[in-house]
Subunit: 337 residues, 4 copies
């Protein structure tokens, strides 16, 4: 039985509290939050103590912590928790600052504790099925990957301003998903971004619509499309062409009812919200973490994966500014030395 402390009791923290409590191999022991009321609400609902993050991290009765706090605290908490001997599952992204994330990676390497990064899409049953099929060679050698990822509606501009920008905040999921599917990171990254959804996003210095093309050492290509607005729901699709065929993961729909009238044949929309869309993924993600920690095996998404995705976001940001492709190696070089 893994005894777990949850740092952060906001929206995503609540989701994790549920998955921790509902899992037969873990127990939610304690919860913290900068807003104590949040922590108290969650603690009461799941029978967990309300404590400070520091307290939880230093409690020898706690085996693992799940970090669901604001992004700018992730690196510090990961370092502190691993220093205190805890296994860690940290929400994405590791950090908005690549150098900080890489320093954290080195600290963690010295601390010797497992850290898993919460890229939930790897655990979505549909994407996981697609990846397994790909790995088994069902469409031969993969050649051309296309990821479509549209949010239902843009976040508030106040959030956009501190988000790190679309590539670090939103497309980072798709960068990790690409690495998951292609098996390795790309060599070059070219980004084209624009603001056609909301002028306030442009005013905040960000884009709301973007296309990123990536090339790989062995000649393969990947392309990612992002938009902050798809009024019909959360549009999350992947397709990959291989020498033996095509694999597509289509949207998850709200229900299976189809209505045919004089106006057309009307089906359900994709689920609207990421929690609805990825609830099964969050459960599977937590199960993978518990299983790896309990068995002492490698966690399925490492800090290195988190750093790679962040470096890709950095490269895309730079490419969008210069208009030229950016080599991932250049991004990783200055810090790696």
């Amino acid at each position: 039985m893994l005894r777990v402390g949850l740092l952060g009791a906001g929206r995503i923290g609540s989701v994790h509290a549920q998955t921790i409590s509902g899992h037969p191999g873990s127990r939610l022991e304690a919860v913290s939050d900068a807003l104590v009321a949040n922590a108290e609400k969650l603690g009461a609902a799941f029978g967990a103590q309300v404590r400070s993050s520091e307290d939880i991290i230093n409690d020898p009765q706690i085996d693992a912590v799940l970090i669901a706090t604001p992004t700018d605290t992730h690196s510090d908490l990961i370092e502190a928790a691993t220093a205190a001997g805890k296994a860690v599952l940290c929400e994405k992204p590791v950090d908005l600052n690549l150098e900080r994330a890489m320093a954290c990676q080195q600290t963690v390497a010295r601390n010797g504790q497992p850290v898993m990064v919460g890229f939930n899409r790897r655990f979505d049953p549909n994407f996981a099925t697609l990846q397994a099929s790909l790995k088994e060679g069902e469409i031969g050698a993969p050649e051309l990957l296309a990821v479509t990822s549209f949010d239902p509606a843009p976040p508030p501009v106040s959030y956009v301003k501190v988000s790190g920008g679309l590539y670090r905040d939103m497309m980072i999921h798709d960068f990790d998903l690409s690495n998951f599917l292609m098996g390795v990171p790309p060599e070059t990254i070219s980004a084209v971004g624009t603001s056609v959804v909301d002028p306030a996003i442009a005013a905040a210095g960000d884009v709301d619509t973007a296309v990123v093309t990536m090339t790989y050492a062995d000649g393969r290509i990947a392309v990612i499309k992002n938009s902050r607005r798809a009024v019909y729901g959360y549009d999350q699709r992947v397709e990959i062409l291989g020498s033996g065929g095509l694999l597509q993961a289509q949207n998850v729909l709200e229900h299976t009812v189809v209505k045919s009238t004089a106006d057309g044949v009307i089906s359900a929309k994709p689920t609207y919200f990421f929690l609805e869309r990825y609830m099964a993924a969050y459960r599977a993600e937590w199960d993978a973490f518990v299983t790896a920690i309990t068995a002492g095996t490698q966690v399925p998404v490492t800090l290195e994966d988190g750093v790679a995705a962040l470096a890709m976001a950095e490269a895309a940001t730079r490419s969008a500014q210069t208009g030229a492709p950016v080599r991932l190696a250049e991004i990783l070089k200055p810090v790696a030395k």
Copy 2:
């Protein structure tokens, strides 16, 4: 080159004129119609002579006739044309009167000329693909057939009154399709009919909605659903469950465009009209006729098939009246002697 006379230049006659002219192995030589203006229009468009049906039938330069006249003339024309040595393709149904159709069948047997009945659905590429798949055992032994056949809108009541009723006029297609798919006619037929679409149809003594269940000697079951009104288009679907799976032929849609908005995901409707839906079938039907006549092989839909479907319509009509299942053998008995 098959030299063809077309008897009947109405809506369906026009379709046939096109398929005859467009086929490399046949030529439209002459056309007749009770309304001479109809015949003249078609003759001009396709470069064919306008003559009387009698003339065409007795012209030794004509090899085959296609009968697309009103139903009550079919039997007489089939008999006359085969007596004159012509091969015949006759539109369904052979006759509204089963005894007359059976007498015609005997006459034709004596005349020794091939007669094919125009059950177009057998030649629809989708139903034909389904039947071929079934025959090759792709779902093992068939067990339960379901045919859905809804017209977009009811015909005028004036037509309903002379149509012979829903079972003879509309469901006769589905009876033949069942025989095509199941390989043999059923043993028993139970019909339930109602008028919920238009009270004028009930007033005319007919039904507009019906379900017919049929049982087969080897234990299989088939069920047919008919409605005179599906406001979203011409709904023509078949599915059959077998020991190894399910085969479904779905609707043919107007186009492949899908629109996703805040109101839902909207696809195209089924094609609305039978000509649009079955144009490919008409072409394939004519090709099958030309091929069989030219090669001297058996036509793929015989007069016997036409009589069987008519007998099933007769049985269904009787069952709907009595509320009890009717054995097909009873229907065929009084006349067969």
Copy 3:
């Protein structure tokens, strides 16, 4: 907080233990089972006491019992529990014997406690969405209902022998679903059954494939297709034609991945097992029960609904034997006096 006793700790009892424990408004207090080991396993997993059914029923600290025991104990337990002042959710069917179920209904009426029958399909999000759409008039007046319900594989013959037969054991779900969608029970029921899946089922006196047609007082028609075997999974579809269009609830698929190769375009199969298919329905069903009991409102599926479905199964069984339609009023008459 509803304090709940669970009677029956088998496969379906385990499902209910989960939904009771996972609901914020209910707590699993005690569990019983004829096989004590079953009850102990479940009690340990969910922190509930292991007791006898009698004990649980008579404990004033228990507010409600969920009956998930073998069918032949349902009526007795319903009567005992309501006599002891408990609210009851009982798995379907109420009883295999219609007279016993009707007697139970009268006893419950005297005891004055709410009894809900566990027809889970009413709570499936897809069927519930379809019914809501229907009720809001989105396809106008309903005219023709078709229910397709195929199990993935037949049950063991030992089970078939005590099941009450396909109509009472399997199609009873579809009878209730028809009543849910059509709003009222039918007037007449005609059944055709056969055994083409497994000769052992015929030897046991049952059928494995059946079609039932039902007519309604206002002229509408419904048809139900059942098979004990669909090798591709649990096939659960509904469609209803109305004056303004068609509503269809399609299958729930295992995942959204589509693979296109030289062999064809391959999608996921329907979920294979009823628990997987209806897990969301079980959760919604329990929520509806807790909500009704807590608020003191009418439960959404009554004992009367359970008796109606059973009477329809009785009528279908009789029709299949005689070959003639059976009026539902005749079935209900002898007992109702």
Copy 4:
């Protein structure tokens, strides 16, 4: 009645012979081909004279010519035919050489005869429906276009060598389709190409897989994916995200039959060959030409459209070589002066 001469009697010439002959407003008078046997075969089949291209062009009894000869003869034939007062429909591309195409455009302007370029996809019923829906504002303002266009199998390397490369030979269709849908040509074009399908294509100096990203003056983005090989068939899809939703044109499938077995749910593949896929488009294209010429209105795809698509192919070729985005204005500049 438009009297038509057909220059070129190869595979695509045969298709056009059919559409010309089948159209009520046009008649195929004469046909030419460098291989006289080709012309003779087609002439015999459709009752047309076999003559030289020069003869046909200079015959005052001919109203229009359809040019379906090898690409390197297009510009010369367009110029000669318009000089002789003929209306012209010319197969795509106008030329492989942009300067030559632009010179041709100027000559044609002087000759004052209408020239339509055969970009067949604009006339595909699915793409045309999508464009009409877009134009009517059904998804609000368009923001992000994605075109997927995969051939079933690569052409022979001998063809690749003289094709002008993937961008000019294959993607030129998608460039024109983008202009059709977006309404204007893009400002910048970035191409990434690779050869992962067949090393012989790389050896021939070409790519077989490519992604092109385009930006527009008003901030919109388009992305095109091309591959020379999709073993499941001819994959031709378009989707466009707008402020009010998403429009998708999906593949045309071989038939509507779906087979569900223990191995999965198997649907038909996309049609395999471009002739099968676009036959309806060829008919509609010819009809649009005849209608415009007969009515004296503007042809729907102009030589300017042909030049624009060719310039985009030129820009993509250059971008793929340099790795940097290319401005379309730069491509058009040197020649435009």
